[in-house]
Symmetry: C2
Subunit: 387 residues, 2 copies
Amino acid sequence: MNKVYLIGGGATKIGEHWEKSLRDLFVEAALKAVDSAEISLKDIEAVYVGNMSSGELQGQEHLGSLMATWLGIPGVAAAKVEAACASGGVAFHQAYLAVASGLYDCVLVGGVEKMTDAIIYDVTAALIMADDYEYVAFTGASFVGLNAIVYRYYMEKFGVKQEDIALFAVHDHKYAVKNPYAQYQFAVSLEKVLESPNVADPIKLFECAPVGDGSAALVICSEDFAKKLGKDFLVQVAASTVATDTISLTNRRDLATLEATVKAANRAYRIAKISVEDIDVIEVHDAFTILGVLHLEDLGFAEKGQGWKLLKEGELEKNAKIPTNMSGGLKARGHPVGSTGVYQIFDIYLQLIGEAPNQVDSAEIGLAQSVGGVGGTVAINILRRVK
Amino acid sequence: MNKVYLIGGGATKIGEHWEKSLRDLFVEAALKAVDSAEISLKDIEAVYVGNMSSGELQGQEHLGSLMATWLGIPGVAAAKVEAACASGGVAFHQAYLAVASGLYDCVLVGGVEKMTDAIIYDVTAALIMADDYEYVAFTGASFVGLNAIVYRYYMEKFGVKQEDIALFAVHDHKYAVKNPYAQYQFAVSLEKVLESPNVADPIKLFECAPVGDGSAALVICSEDFAKKLGKDFLVQVAASTVATDTISLTNRRDLATLEATVKAANRAYRIAKISVEDIDVIEVHDAFTILGVLHLEDLGFAEKGQGWKLLKEGELEKNAKIPTNMSGGLKARGHPVGSTGVYQIFDIYLQLIGEAPNQVDSAEIGLAQSVGGVGGTVAINILRRVK
């Protein structure tokens, strides 16, 4: 495989962008990424767009051609990649393969989602399309309801209290304060989280990632292309993997294990030739607090049933054992679904180039984990700073 | 780049499959492809799903995880790829890159679309999402209406009569008679076509590809994997390219040229090291008769304004100058949009292994052209039979 480097990134602030359309958000992030990479738009040979619901929410498909047009570079190769809330991470994987294959030298990958002024369809109805329509969505189950089942199961099985899981929201908000891209740049207390209304028992409102609009974009390239830029150091994509699990919880062996995370992570560690201890900073997909805890375990940072202890004991803080969600995570940076996976990789990239809002000391290896559905698809992308 | 081989394919008949759901169609085609490749499902490492409108029509996204689940192989990598009506051709390109990169040895790519019992949204409204919603669809333009503009422009500019373009429908139907997968296995006369009702003047009903359900799937693999199968000959993917154009006609330099076809085809010829004369058989994306004519020109088989002469003079017939749409094309084999690009490659594959319903003598090199929107995205895939 050809080596692949990440040479620039950009993003919009996440929020309720009533004045900006889907394309405005994408183009804003893409142009920032191109500027940051110090390349020209003409260098881009392919555009990948990670997005889940533009058809249902904006009445717009064919985002590859649309975004290439609005970037002023029609002619390039382009595609939309969809894998529910993992669309961004999986789009990055496709962009990675495009460069790794040798067919493309310089590729733009952006994630975009506009959720706040849906004109065609309802956001909650669009999101449950991540699960099986015929067997699950049809029953009236909502996405938060499915996560509530996992949450309750985990608490019962391992005797864990909700306050030790809900703490993930407090953690995320604490770090979002300094992130200029974050939707919620303020802290919340555990009391606030636990006092917030039930959405689907036991999940409280403040344990849920918010609805928001946003786009993040990255430029990746081949070794030859990267070396011509003459930078002091580079950020290499050390591994990029995707794995699936059954789309619905009903078919899982264990409700408390997200096997797609286990498979994708283990494969990525082998490819990157690292062990979990080598990782300096991570972004995990905590669309609900319980998922953050599960993912810490399934990524290998804790034994099953013990992930909440890392949180409680401060091991996820900056410069602690495994600095986690220094961006503010899905809860507070925000979660415009199809763009989130790209935001996460951008956040890790900023850590490795030393420009993150909550900079971890001498971060050299970082991991971003992007999840679709309740673990139906997981993308793991590992970045490494190299000379 | 690593070499990539096509080792098996399968498809459902295209039609109104009221008794089969989206997943049923995909699984049927995928299992046929796996059987035809003489491999085991366990050999598959990644699943690509080409689909345009499952969200709008079935209320279902996340097709990667869904189809992996229903194939009984959750765990594999998976993604949905969308590029409007080119979704199938572009999904094949992504699958190709996955193997060409060296990360995957054996990949399944299937296209699927179920259009006849849309439960969420209307098919015509879903299809116009291939164009710009904010500037075009919003005006009430339909997809056939946009093609009617191109049709009228072409007739006026080059002084061509409708009967010389509408003949493409007659050509397609003639060859669909023997294709067991075709939606319409019967011939039509030019009189019938010209007497059929106007859909969007000048386009007649019988000049339009029909609405239908269907799925086609292919298995592709690396050289090592292919050689282990011990076959007498192999079908190599000699080139796979994608190009875009502006998503809307309003921004085009020339309404009668589909530049994305020109760009993608020329790049593919260079990569495959062939000229247009070397090609033995093609499938072109004639969603409307006029598009078939334009594509012959933009692929390089005729000068601009002259494509209709190939049709009229019999040069598209079996064993004539350039045998075209031996499957029955979009008009008569059918056009379940996101699956069509995969059907086309499957049809070319059958030609190269000598098992096509309208077999061209000693076909060694074939080309499939898949188009999204009115030329907003074009995928070109060239296959070559090798020892």
